[in-house]
C-alpha cells in the first residue's frame, strides 16, 4: 500500500521528534538519576529532537524505570492510557526489564511488561545514559523499518551482548572460585583479608 506524501511527512516527523515522559514505577532512584543524566547538556539529546515533557498528553515515548509495585501499577496503566497514539515504551534498568532482585516480592507485580507492552528493554543496574540514548535511537530505527515495511535487520548487538554477558559470567565464576580457593588455602593473612573485603 503506497503512502501519500502527507503520511510520509508525518512518518518523518514521528522519527525526528520523540518527546519523552519519565515515570518511576518503583525504582531505587538509580535509573532515574541516569535518565535525568541522559537529558543534560553534556549528552544533548535535543540533537535527535528528543525533549522531556511534563504531561503524558504531549509525550510519544514513556521512559519507565523500576519494578512495578502494586501501588504504582494502576497509576502506570493510567499514564500509559493517557498518552495519545502512537506511543512507545522503553523499560530502563534491570528491574524494569524483569523485576530484577525484587521479582517475586510480595508487593511487586513484576517488570514493566507485566502491566503495559514494552518496545525496548535497557538492562543495567543502573543503566548508563549512553545505553538509554542508544535505546531511543534503536527504537527510532525500528520505527523507520516498520514505516517503510522493510523487515527488521538482524541485530548483531544482541549476539555481542550475549557473548559479553558470558564473558562477565565466566569472569565472575572464576573470581568466586579463586576466592573460595584462597579461603581454603592457609595463605598469609594479608591477601586473604583483602580478598575477603572485596567479597
Amino acid at each position: 500500500m503506497a503512502k501519500s506524501l502527507f503520511e510520509k511527512a508525518i512518518d518523518w516527523g514521528r522519527r525526528k521528534s520523540p518527546w519523552i515522559i519519565h515515570f518511576n514505577a518503583g525504582a531505587c532512584n538509580g535509573c532515574d538519576i541516569e535518565v535525568v543524566d541522559a537529558i543534560t547538556p553534556r549528552f544533548d539529546v535535543e540533537r535527535f529532537g528528543l525533549m522531556l515533557k511534563g504531561t503524558p498528553r504531549h509525550a510519544d515515548v514513556l521512559v519507565c524505570t523500576g519494578a512495578v509495585t502494586l501501588q504504582t501499577r494502576d497509576r502506570l496503566k493510567r499514564i500509559y492510557e493517557q498518552m495519545p497514539d502512537p506511543k512507545f515504551v522503553i523499560a530502563v534498568g534491570t528491574c524494569a526489564c524483569s523485576g530484577g532482585i525484587f521479582d517475586g516480592c510480595y508487593c511487586v507485580a513484576g517488570g514493566i511488561d507485566a502491566v503495559i507492552p514494552v518496545n525496548v528493554y535497557v538492562p543495567g543496574c543502573a543503566a548508563r545514559p549512553e545505553a538509554i540514548i542508544d535505546a531511543v535511537v534503536k527504537l527510532l530505527t525500528a520505527l523507520e523499518n516498520m514505516q517503510k515495511g522493510t523487515p527488521a535487520a538482524p541485530v548483531d548487538d544482541n549476539v555481542a551482548d550475549v557473548s559479553a554477558l558470558e564473558e562477565i559470567e565466566n569472569a565472575v565464576t572464576e573470581a568466586s572460585a579463586a576466592a573460595v580457593h584462597s579461603d581454603n588455602q592457609p595463605a598469609d593473612s594479608a591477601t586473604t583479608g583483602s580478598q575477603g573485603g572485596e567479597e
Partner: protein, 311 residues
C-alpha cells in the same frame, strides 16, 4: 485576488507560519549554544509540528466538546490578524489605519485569554492552576506593556503603528528618548509570551504543563504555532517602535525586518537562558513596583518633551 494572496500567502498565513517555525528554531539554537551544546537540527520545529498533526487528539471526557477544540484556532486567528497591521517591508503596514495600535494590542490579548479558557475548560487541576496564573500575570504585565508602547505614540502624535514607525524613521535620534520604554517593553513582552522568567502558566516543573496539560495532537500543534506566531508579531511590533530603520526598497526593507526581529529574538533568548522562573507574587510585585513606575516616568518625559522639541 491580491487581498487573498496577502492574507493567505505573503505577509499573512503561510509566510508567518514558516517564519514562526524559523523563529522557534533560532530561539532553541541560541538557547542551546548558550548552554554549550549543539542544539536541534534546522527542521526540528517542522518535525514537531508534523508529528503533532499526525498524533491522536484526545478530548477529555470532562472537557467541553465544542470550546476545547475551538480555542487553539481562535488564538492562531487572532495572532495572524494582528500581523497584517505590522510594518514588514517598508515603514507602512499592509492595511494601516488610525488606531491600529489599539487593535493590535487587544488582538494580542486574545491568545492569553484563550490560554486561560483552555486551562479552564480542560477541568484538570494543573490546567486550572495554570489558567489562574495566566490571568494573574495578564493583569501585571499588560499595564506596563501598554504604557511602554503608548508613550512613543504620544511623542509621534499618532495611534497608527505605521505612523509611529515613519515618525521615528524621520527623526532617528528621538529613539534614544524611548530607551526606558524599550526596556519595559522587552521585560513585559516576556510575560505576554510566557517565556522564562515569567513562564508561570506552563511551569513544567511545578504544574506539569499548566494550561496545556490536556491538549494533545493537532490541538497542541495549533497552540504551539500560535505561540510561535505571537513571538514573531511581538518582535515585529517592538522592532517597529524602537528600531524604526527602513528603506524605500522593499527587498532591502524586508531584509532589515528580518535583522531587526532576530535582534529582538536574540535579546529574548538570552533572557530565557540566563534567568530562572520567579514565583507568581514576585512577578506581580515586580511588574507593579518597578515596571509600571518606569513606564509612567516615560509617559511624563514624553509629554514634557512634546512641548519642548521641534516636531
Amino acid at each position: 485576488m491580491v487581498a487573498l494572496f496577502n492574507i493567505l500567502i505573503f505577509p499573512g498565513f503561510l509566510f508567518l507560519g514558516i517564519y514562526a517555525l524559523l523563529f522557534e528554531y533560532l530561539d532553541r539554537i541560541i538557547y542551546a549554544r548558550l548552554q554549550n551544546r549543539m542544539g536541534p537540527p534546522w527542521f526540528q520545529p517542522l518535525a514537531d509540528f508534523l508529528k503533532l498533526i499526525g498524533k491522536e487528539a484526545v478530548i477529555p471526557a470532562a472537557a467541553d466538546k465544542h470550546v476545547f477544540p475551538a480555542l487553539p484556532v481562535v488564538a492562531l486567528a487572532a495572532v495572524t490578524t494582528a500581523f497584517l497591521y505590522v510594518p514588514i517591508w517598508s515603514g507602512s503596514s499592509l492595511l494601516p489605519f488610525s488606531g491600529d495600535l489599539i487593535v493590535v494590542l487587544y488582538l494580542l490579548t486574545i491568545p492569553t485569554l484563550t490560554f486561560f479558557l483552555a486551562g479552564w475548560y480542560s477541568t484538570s487541576v494543573y490546567a486550572t492552576v495554570g489558567s489562574m496564573r495566566a490571568l494573574t500575570q495578564l493583569f501585571s504585565y499588560e499595564v506596563p506593556l501598554f504604557m511602554a508602547l503608548l508613550s512613543p505614540a504620544l511623542l509621534a502624535d499618532t495611534w497608527s503603528i505605521s505612523g509611529i514607525s515613519q515618525f521615528y524613521g524621520a527623526h532617528p535620534l528621538y529613539i534614544l528618548i524611548n530607551i526606558p520604554a524599550f526596556v519595559v517593553a522587552i521585560v513585559a513582552c516576556q510575560g505576554k509570551l510566557e517565556r522564562v522568567p515569567f513562564d508561570l502558566p506552563e511551569a513544567e516543573t511545578e504544574i506539569v504543563s499548566g494550561t496545556f496539560v490536556e491538549y494533545s495532537g493537532r490541538f497542541y500543534a495549533v497552540f504551539k504555532m500560535a505561540i510561535n506566531c505571537e513571538l514573531v508579531v511581538v518582535a515585529a511590533i517592538v522592532s517597529a517602535f524602537f528600531l524604526p530603520f527602513y528603506t524605500a526598497n522593499p527587498f532591502i526593507g524586508f531584509l532589515l525586518f528580518i535583522v531587526k526581529t532576530v535582534i529582538i529574538l536574540f535579546i529574548l533568548a538570552v533572557f530565557r537562558s540566563v534567568m530562572a522562573r520567579i514565583r507568581i507574587e514576585q512577578m506581580v510585585k515586580f511588574c507593579w513596583k518597578y515596571l509600571t513606575p518606569l513606564a509612567i516616568l516615560q509617559i511624563i518625559i514624553n509629554i514634557l518633551l512634546k512641548g519642548v522639541l521641534p516636531l
